[in-house]
């Protein structure tokens, strides 16, 4: 079995048309930044599944890269971000689309996106235990990295202070 020949380098990444397409289709979304290879849009948790399906099916971002969360304690919000890339669409391999939602910190319930990107399952589980975000529809939200008997607030929230600090 031989390694395949190298394909020619992809064309330069273009993110602005992608941002325009998302905003045109979903007027409620806000574009946080458009950089050469990065694009971040924020949408409401109720809308995120539709936007995610659009990003996957119409724009070709089929490969989940990471799911991250941030506790914005001053704004009383928790931000959940899906970073998705495109591995099978030529010319878009360099681009990462960040799809964000900001549920309220007191009751951060958002729909799960594992039907859109099945690879997000463990990432969402980690976000759940580390930040307390509840992904409704997720098949298993048990602790993954934390001990089963973890009896404290989620550790990556800003009001959790590490022991000894």
């Amino acid at each position: 079995m031989q390694a395949q020949a190298q394909t020619p380098p992809p064309q330069p990444a273009k993110t602005q048309p992608l941002a325009d397409a998302i905003v045109q289709k979903f007027p409620g979304t806000t574009v946080d930044y458009v950089r050469e290879k990065r694009l971040k849009v924020t949408t409401a948790p109720e809308k995120i599944k539709e936007v995610a399906l659009f990003v996957r099916d119409e724009l070709g971002f089929d490969h989940i890269s990471c799911v991250s969360g941030t506790d914005w304690i001053a704004k009383n919000e928790i931000e959940v971000i899906y970073f998705v890339g495109a591995v099978s669409k030529p010319g878009q391999e360099a681009i990462i689309v960040a799809l964000a939602e900001r549920p309220k910190r007191d009751n951060p319930t958002v729909p799960t996106l594992i039907e859109v990107w099945p690879g997000a399952e463990y990432h969402e589980r980690e976000t759940h235990e580390m930040l307390g975000v509840v992904f409704s529809g997720h098949p298993n939200l048990k602790n993954l990295l934390l001990p089963e008997d973890w009896n404290d607030i989620p550790p990556l929230r800003k009001d959790y202070i590490s022991p000894g600090r």
Partner: protein, 372 residues
């Protein structure tokens, strides 16, 4: 393959067995298995035994203090995990790294890739009962560690790639020795092919086992060797070139079989490319400074970046948020082992108990990296 499993826990014939966490192969990691005779009906990875809270630790330390502890999750590939961190901080600070520094970043990252892949192949050998491979690969790995030691000053955890470039220049007279090692290693890899990759016993144990199709690899978010062994030619070094990688001529090897053999062999093909890159880098390394002087507490402007690099195991990514204070507001590490963990669950379904070791180890899974 579907995400929802269809096993029945009440059936009498189903036996649940824990593989690990005290297991010589699984490492600090447990796989809960449900067996029906000799077949795995369901498998559930259970990480977390070595979770150390690297992300929370990162919020208590400044951008330079974060360097040594961030490489701990994957000491075999310490440059692989620090490279995207340096890229993220450099992007926030808008640093222009000197060319020589970028070349040294690439040299060390590629040496680390070889060191990590050698370990992977060595342990693969012992997993399938091939004792020669562990002795050869572990022994030959040391020659690369020797070169890394000359550059980085330590044998595994160098803390070499830092924001602003690399920690120090390489010693004089290293080029000749490195090029000799490259020549010798290429011949050595031919011998690996003969004794291990073309070995009928290894072929018997790995060919056609644990097949991951291209569609599933993309759908489940596979990365690194796992993704490339399934026919997806995705490598961040080529698709989103960073540091000095645009200067070098190399190929992205990929195979289409997606089985345990392909996942092992693609690592060997990648090592050949790494040798190619190292040779070019040593021959063409420009003179000049190797780092920017950032000071012990660099001022990082407020902002948010998502930086990624191709580590030995796949896409290593950092989501870094700075609020203008000396410490990161959020430091998320997206590690390839965690991204590939779902593959263990999906691929173990339906295999023989005897095939668990190659299916598990061919994911190039490193529990400490996955736990962070």
């Amino acid at each position: 393959m579907t995400i929802q499993s269809e096993y029945n826990p009440d059936a009498d014939r189903i036996m649940s067995v824990a593989l690990g966490p005290q297991h010589p192969g699984a490492g600090h990691f447990r796989i809960q298995l449900w067996l029906d005779g000799d077949y795995v009906v369901k498998a559930e990875p259970d990480p977390g035994y070595v979770h150390r809270g690297e992300e929370k630790m990162g919020e208590y330390r400044n951008y330079i203090q974060n360097v040594p502890h961030l490489e701990r999750p994957v000491i075999l590939d310490s440059c692989g995990i620090l490279f995207p961190y340096a890229l993220a901080v450099d992007e926030l600070m808008n640093n222009k790294i000197p060319r020589r520094g970028q070349y040294l970043q690439v040299i060390m990252a590629e040496i680390n890739r070889i060191v990590s892949h050698m370990y992977f192949i060595a342990i693969y050998g012992i997993f399938v009962g091939h004792t020669t491979m562990i002795t050869w690969a572990m022994g030959d790995r040391d020659f690369w560690i020797d070169i890394a030691e000359r550059i980085g000053g330590a044998r595994v955890t160098f803390a070499y790639i830092i924001p602003g470039g690399v920690r120090n220049d390489m010693p004089q007279g290293l080029t000749e020795r490195a090029l000799k090692t490259c020549d010798w290693f290429e011949k050595r890899m031919d011998e690996y092919e003969k004794i291990f990759f073309k070995n009928p016993i290894f072929l018997e144990r790995s060919e056609g086992i644990g097949v991951l199709t291209k569609e599933d690899a993309i759908r489940l978010g596979a990365t690194g060797t796992v993704l490339r062994a399934s026919g997806v030619k995705h490598d961040i070094r080529r698709d989103e070139p960073y540091s000095a990688y645009p200067d070098f001529d190399f190929e992205v090897p990929s195979l289409t079989a997606g089985d345990c053999w392909a996942r092992a062999y693609v690592a060997l093909l990648e090592m050949r490319q790494s040798v190619k890159i190292i040779r070019q880098a040593f021959k063409t390394i420009p003179p000049g400074p190797v780092r920017l002087k950032l000071g012990p507490q660099p001022r990082v402007p407020a902002g948010e970046v998502y930086a990624r690099a191709e580590a030995a195991r796949g896409e290593m990514s950092y989501h870094l948020i700075s609020d203008g204070t000396p410490r990161p507001y959020r430091l998320k590490i997206g590690v390839p082992s965690f991204k590939n963990m779902i593959m263990i669950r999906e691929l173990l379904k339906g295999v023989h108990v005897g095939d668990i070791p190659p299916v598990y180890w061919s994911q190039n899974f490193w529990p400490v990296e996955s736990d962070r």
